[in-house]
Subunit: 155 residues, 2 copies
């Protein structure tokens, strides 16, 4: 997919759908991607109207990259695409939640399953890198390891 | 808690912790609140440095409301506080994920469990309100009802 013109043929139904979203002053909305099966939160990215339309058209997550200022079909280079299972909108319409099937279970550009691999160690006041600590674990052990039990007793 | 000055006694450890966060041009970071037990995504809100420090201090979620421009101890009026079980930071430091214990299992000001109760019905191109559809269901039935299976076959 190129970042050139697209969706110039927006139909009235699309407009109603898009107008329910509260776009910010840059015409963007934050989008949380959550793995549908595990319910792990994978990443947060942004969409503009075209990105949401492309997501609907493709059935895969298409975001707007603020750094590169273009549409970004997630996984177009890495192969780690996100098949969209469900799209939710919050009460005031200013955040979208995507439930996705994450290809290869890798969402992060670092190779991690989720972008949220840094965990605050409150007693030490550090951000521990659980990706480094866990990257050689098997997936079934990873779930246990990441499941919050007593790691944050101070809260 | 008032919205007056606080944490004027920021210590060096806090500073290191806070400096790992990529604050946006308004000094804010988006924060995803996820229920620790169910892994449901509850809401998205924002924090500034003081909000994160207050969250650490209280052990309950404290956000920055952009509309009211003040610190907001979530649940201070409704009673629906969020006990923080874990704080995670994403790969590039520009999003925080809070794992919380949601008091009364109600995160949304509408009374809904999660703010993300509107679900896109792709064939109809509408946002269906699953809070209305589900508010009389028992919690154990709600999980089944909200679990995405075949509701979004077009994706």
């Amino acid at each position: 997919m190129s970042d050139k013109t697209m969706n110039t043929n927006t139909n009235p139904e699309d407009t109603v759908l898009l107008d329910a979203v509260t776009w910010n002053e840059q015409g963007l909305v934050p989008v949380i991607a959550q793995e549908a099966v595990s319910k792990d939160v994978l990443m947060l990215a942004w969409m503009n109207r075209d990105a949401l339309l492309e997501t609907l058209r493709l059935g895969e997550a298409v975001y707007w990259t603020r750094s590169r200022q273009k549409l970004w079909h997630k996984g177009e280079e890495s192969g780690h695409t996100q098949k969209v299972k469900e799209i939710r909108l919050d009460c005031d319409g200013d955040t979208i939640l995507l439930l996705v099937e994450q290809k290869d279970r890798i969402a992060c550009h670092t190779g991690a399953h989720s972008c949220f691999f840094r965990v605050m160690n409150k007693p030490k006041l550090t951000w521990d890198n659980f990706f480094e600590a866990t990257k050689d674990l098997k997936p079934e052990d990873l779930e246990d390891f990441l499941n919050p039990k007593d790691r944050y007793p101070g809260a």
